[in-house]
């Protein structure tokens, strides 16, 4: 078990290292000069050159990357370097703030969006998937399969725009001011407003995601219901409800939970599209804005945070599998 853990951890570090390297390399191609951004307005060329030297921006690229990983120059009292504690992702010259702080600021909105949407899409997809499986080939099955395909084909931003058009614009012009146009209210500020502002984004994500989950739940349920122990459970006279939900659903959930873990991992790195449509101030929107502002340290930071969530939850899923399922070899 220890060897398994160590190997997975090594893999995590290796992947993150490569992603950091590529992301850092890509962003250093861009031609902008952080020193000029940091310098006071109207600073002389010599002053800017001096700042540039202080920031070690004239060093060769591999040295700059080394500084990024270990310990870079302090910028306005902010330590830089990933291996510092707390880990620092550098300094945003455009926003004049440490990158770590900027990202942590945006994380609550993204987490609220991702987790809330997940609860919603599971709540939509699980019952439909189970019903479709238990009544396979019925009208309900066909209808749900069709809607799953439509949901699968809906681009997230298009669904978001349509929801905004119908539930914000049309309702508001009709005199029912039910939903806001967008924006994010922190949970700590006002829990009701928090949910109120997130309902449309939650539904946008949930409806597009639910499609896949209906399919996965249905096929997983069908497979499980064909197993011998289900027949045994029926044979010993258990009520059908109990057979389906207690015996069937429980083991059919494994692939669903795995998928949900990976999807949430991806979303935590920024639900870029949904955040952009609804103007939610999350990590994804931060990435879009930073890319267009040329705020490259933030772009590298978001890339790394997103990759971390993804790889970490991947490793976690493997681990949970290994713990739960005796058939998975751990060596």
């Amino acid at each position: 078990m220890l060897r398994f853990l160590l190997r997975r951890f090594g893999y995590l570090v290796f992947v993150l290292f490569v992603i950091a390297l590529v992301s850092f390399g890509l962003n250093s191609i861009a031609n902008n000069n952080p020193a000029a951004l940091l310098a006071p307005r109207g600073a002389s060329a010599e002053a800017i050159a001096q700042i540039k030297a202080n920031l070690h921006l004239n060093d060769p690229l591999y040295l700059q990357f080394w500084h990024f990983l270990t310990r870079g120059p302090d910028i306005r009292g902010t330590k830089s370097g990933l291996m510092q504690w707390p880990p620092s992702l550098g300094y945003s010259f455009v926003k004049q703030r440490p990158v770590t702080e900027v990202i942590l600021d945006k994380l609550p909105a993204t987490i609220s969006l991702a987790l809330g949407a997940m609860v919603l899409w599971l709540a939509i997809a699980l019952p439909i998937g189970v019903l479709a499986a238990t009544k396979a080939r019925s009208l309900l099955d066909r209808v749900s399969t069709f809607f799953a395909l439509v949901g699968l084909s809906f681009p997230t931003f298009l669904l978001g725009l349509l929801l905004l058009y119908v539930f914000y614009y049309q309702l508001t012009t009709a005199g029912f001011n039910v939903f806001p146009a967008g924006g994010y209210v922190a949970l700590t500020t006002d829990p009701l407003e928090w949910a109120h502002h997130l309902i449309l984004p939650w539904f946008t994500l949930a409806l597009t995601e639910a499609a896949i989950y209906v399919r996965v739940t249905r096929s997983s349920m069908l497979e499980v219901l064909g197993e011998d122990y289900i027949r045994t459970a029926r044979a010993k006279g258990l009520p059908e409800r109990r057979v389906v939900y207690r015996h069937g659903l429980r083991s059919a959930l494994t692939p669903v939970v795995t998928l949900a873990g990976l999807d949430v991992a991806t979303l935590l790195g920024g639900a870029i599209v949904t955040e952009q449509v609804f103007g939610l101030d999350g990590v994804g929107r931060l990435a879009v804005l930073s890319v267009s502002d040329g705020d490259l340290p933030v772009v590298v930071g978001v890339t790394l945070v997103a990759a971390f969530f993804f790889v970490f939850i991947n490793v976690l899923v493997d681990l949970v599998y290994a713990l739960l399922d005796a058939r998975v070899r751990v060596d």
């Binding site: 992947v15 962003n27 396979a136 809906f154 058009y165 790195g269 920024g270 870029i272 890339t303 997103a306």
Partner: protein, 347 residues
């Protein structure tokens, strides 16, 4: 299995009945065998698959829709000429009489779906958007298919260290937060004057294929791993076939069916990818019309509120295109793999 009997009710020869079963080699189809009394026609797996596809009404409808769409995309300049509006010209007719604010006109005979915030014809732009979507979707898929198949073949067939290294590379590509990285890559395409260094359309295609070839590589690798242990590969080897020959002549034909299905299902994903990048402002840029940047304009200008055609035109076009490709892909999967669930369900 009723689906094996075509409308002409011929009985397929058992050897070629199952395209996913025995490995197939390119070449002329086996000659029809005739037994006295009853005529038996041998059909190639392709003929069988086409017969199955012909009976799938939904897939057929999707295919017809896609052919229409391609026609519309090809004929877009012609239709634009008929309408009398250019996709990138600003028409003051589309702007209200005062001329102060570019208030869009309502849909009418002149502007079927109204005009956008600059007085451009939304209908004509939607037609031109189809060209971008289809071009990017198909070309990006083709590049990814070629690269992915090559890598997958090498990894699966050569095995050993090559496989380990290539598989690691695939893993790393899959771990990249692709949308953020795609944003970065496209944003870097700016010279000192803010002008794109290379054509944004080419770049979008390249970026999309960069993040999607891994799917094809994984598919092909998995297939090759099981195929290479089969007898026909051993037979080819014992006849002195080179590695290259085994890969191209013996393995490739067995990969065609799954690759067609995968590619058909990848095209809509890539179309959505392009639309998303363009919506986020880093893909295809104005004045070139793309459904993604039109939808962005619709939201950013707020005109979709008074002019639903601005939102619904490109929106429905995008949705229908993606849906049609998905339906066709599902139909192809059922037709090419007789063991898939939907065909079984018909029994």
């Amino acid at each position: 299995m009723s689906e094996q009997a075509g409308p002409d009710a011929t009985i397929p020869a058992p050897v070629t009945a199952d395209p996913a079963g025995p490995p197939k080699r390119p070449g002329p189809p086996p000659p029809p065998t005739a037994s006295p009394g009853k005529s038996v026609t041998a059909r190639t797996p392709l003929q069988l698959a086409m017969a199955r596809l012909r009976r799938d009404k939904v897939a057929l409808a999707a295919g017809v829709l896609l052919i229409l769409l391609i026609l519309v995309a090809v004929c877009a300049p012609l239709i634009a000429k008929l309408v009398g509006h250019d996709p990138t010209t600003n028409y003051p007719d589309g702007i209200d009489a005062s001329g102060l604010l570019p208030v869009p006109v309502t849909p009418g005979p002149g502007f079927l779906l109204g005009a956008d915030q600059l007085g451009r014809d939304v209908f004509v732009r939607t037609l031109y958007g189809a060209r971008i979507s289809l071009l990017v979707g198909m070309v990006a898929t083709a590049i990814a298919l070629v690269v992915g198949t090559t890598v997958g073949l090498l990894a699966g067939f050569v095995g050993g260290k090559t496989d380990t290294v290539l598989s690691r590379i695939i893993d790393i590509f899959l771990s990249f937060p692709f949308l953020v990285t795609a944003l970065t890559l496209v944003a870097l395409n700016r010279d000192a004057f803010g002008q794109p260094r290379i054509s944004p359309i080419l770049l979008v295609m390249a970026v999309i294929s960069l993040f999607t070839w891994t799917f094809f590589a994984r598919l092909v690798r998995g297939q090759v791993l099981s195929l290479r242990e089969r007898e026909f590969v051993e037979a080819a080897r014992s006849l002195g076939a080179s590695n290259f020959r085994v890969m191209v002549v013996d393995l490739m034909p067995n990969l065609v069916a799954p690759l067609i299905v995968y590619a058909t299902l990848q095209i809509p994903l890539n179309i959505v990818f392009e639309a998303t990048l363009s919506y986020l402002g880093v893909g295809v840029r104005a004045p070139t019309a793309s459904w993604g940047n039109m939808l962005f304009d619709a939201q950013a200008s707020g005109y979709y509120q008074t002019q639903p055609g601005f939102l619904l035109g490109p929106g429905i076009a995008l949705l229908l295109t993606v849906l049609a490709f998905n339906l066709l892909g599902d139909g192809l999967r059922d037709a090419l793999d007789p063991r898939s669930s939907r065909t079984m369900a018909k029994d």
